[in-house]
Amino acid sequence: MEDYIIEHTPDYNNPVLTVEDLVVKFNLRGQVLTAVRGISLELYKGESLAIVGESGSGKSVFTKTFMGLLDNNGWIDNGHIYYHDYDLTTFKKEKDWTKIRGQRIAMVFQDPMTSLNPLKTVGKQIQEAFTLHNKVSKAEAKARTLELLADVGIPEPEKRYKQYPHEFSGGMRQRVVIAIAMACVPEILICDEPTTALDVTIQAQILDLLKKLQAKYGLTVIYITHDLGVVANVADRIAVMYAGDIVEIGTCDEVFYDPKHPYTWALLSSLPQLGIKGEDLYSIQGTPPNLFQHIQGDAFAPRNPQALKVDFVARPPYFEVTPTHKARTWLLDPRAPKIDPPPHLKNIMNLNRGGDLSNG
């Protein structure tokens, strides 16, 4: 790939996707589970937003609603998703979705080992995504596919075009999955744990690739991950999700250097990068709440050793820290006692990778 500048420019006055008070429910064995509990969010053109949370926090379900990919037992109970002139929550038929899915909003899935068809050549799979939405000749489609393969950094596209997924390594397969998502040059790219199944070295390369693609095509990217360590590199803004709700949202620097919600503190504290050898790592006690039941107050309160009384009674509203940074915690209320974040979070500023990697 040629060297172009890896800089993208988010346009914070121009939201491409607006979510208003979204509630998603599932019917499981006769019981109703609330997976997303009233999320409002604006996604701006050209930005990269990271959604971070534990498994079961509803981060995948939330983004699946943008593409109409909810399982059959799930439904949008309340709220709106505005995308250009459409309200995506009104879409009922598959035909409505085909205009959006893959063409305007595309997704990169987690596990490249299972998201490709083992019986089709890689070239065919990429081409399929392209020809589905565009009427083109075979030769044109192939030319575009080869271009895509080169775009995602796969060497020898001509040869690779004819190969099957099993002939690719994990990192290369993930590049193929990205090529499929990029086939129609979508406006929004959703990456659901794009690097979790990969080695650290490959992980860094894939994130680099996504950044390059974002700059080249002016994409708006949503990263979904459970690992805060990964997103520092790529995210402009970070939304922290817990129990189906965004508990804190802010720019990357604000969330890492000045986190406000106790859950964000806990997530950051448990990173092994911050651990001190010979001492225990911080770990969050307890388990996430049962989403079958109504959640009273702050969902994180039962696991928060410093929870206030009010946390168990009333759900906190969003308190604004800066125009770009808000958090759902009573700690930001002027009447709340002053509780400081864990002291070792300050260490984030002076972390190093070790060694002087600049020479040699």
Binding site: S169, V200, T201, G229, A232, L268, K277, I284, L351
Partner: protein, 313 residues
């Protein structure tokens, strides 16, 4: 945490593991040698396909070695050994696997999963004694004894990994091989499992071989780290030394890839990509050299000079 590193527990000598047929052999591990001391956590780091898992499996006698030997407490445990010794090895060396979703028998109750090893090796135990030991093992890993009558699908990922650890622990091993024990877990649960592993190490005096691809985790838990690339160990040093003076270009590439939770340094990070063609080994073959006390590296003469300069010698 200064550990007294004098007694060698496991000694791997010139290990070579070959897969495939005689006509198309594939050497996965080339001439690997290292010692693991009693009570330490020895890290083995490399990317997928580097042979790190194969080394672990060869030590525990799952994969046969094509050359070299493994000594455990000074006794050879590789190749042909007596039945008696084989039994001892099975008991003394245990393994924790990567994916807790795939490594537990879905159709067996926790009680059986945890005690299966005992039933094979400690046939002298009565049923009551055995269930007592299961109870104790579950308590040790922070699970409730009544979980013994449940099935694996009733547990979360973190709890399943604890069951996997309990299963290893019940054999009262001296040495545990942990093959990517936390890669498949959520970040918040990773911390719990790592804490548990270091707690058990203190309580039971365990020695670990910790296999992973993520150096940031290893920095926290390992005493010494060996970096492996394509079946060859390229660098071995105490953890802090390795992080302070990474010498081999592959080690540096791995270090540069560590994700840091710090946006400022992350956004300016430069990936070092390892290109094996930077070595000129055609005429000047690399040798395994101790460049400073306890810090080994695979390098030829020319590179040694360069590395010595980097160390300020």
């Amino acid at each position: 945490m200064a550990k007294d590193l004098t007694d060698v527990l496991v000694s791997v000598r010139n290990m070579e593991v070959t897969f495939g047929s005689k006509r198309h052999p594939f050497v996965a591990v080339h001439d690997v040698s290292f010692d693991i001391y009693k009570g330490e956590t020895f890290g083995l780091v490399g990317e997928s396909g580097s042979g790190k898992t194969t080394i672990g499996r060869a030590i525990i006698r799952i994969n046969p070695m094509s050359a070299g030997e493994v000594l455990f407490n000074g006794e050879r445990i590789s190749g042909k050994i007596s039945k008696e010794l084989d039994k001892q090895v099975t008991q003394n060396i245990q393994m924790i696997f990567q994916d807790p979703m795939a490594s537990l028998n879905e159709r067996a109750k926790v009680d059986y999963i945890v005690s299966e090893g005992l039933q094979n090796v400690r046939k002298d135990l009565s049923k009551e004694e055995r269930s007592k030991m299961v109870e104790q093992a579950l308590l040790d890993v922070g699970l409730l004894p009544e979980f013994a009558s449940r099935f694996p699908h009733e547990f979360s990922g973190g709890q399943r990994q604890r069951i996997g650890i309990a299963r290893a622990l019940i054999m009262e091993p001296e040495f545990i091989i942990a093959d990517e024990p936390i890669s498949a877990l959520d970040v918040s649960i990773r911390a719990q499992v790592l804490n548990l592993m270091s707690k058990l190490q203190k309580e039971h005096g365990l020695t670990y071989l910790f296999i992973a691809h993520d150096l940031s985790v290893m920095r926290f838990i390992c005493d010494r780290i060996a970096v492996i690339h394509k079946g060859v160990i390229v660098e071995l040093a105490e953890t802090e030394k390795l992080f302070a003076h990474p010498l081999h270009p592959y080690t540096r590439a791995l270090l540069s890839a560590i994700p840091l939770p710090d946006p400022k340094s992350e956004k300016h990070k430069k990936l070092v990509i390892y290109d094996p063609s930077c070595h000129h080994y055609e005429t000047d073959k690399p040798v395994w050299t101790e460049i400073e006390p306890g810090h080994f590296i695979m390098a030829n003469k020319e590179e040694l000079e360069k590395y010595n300069k980097m160390l300020g010698k």
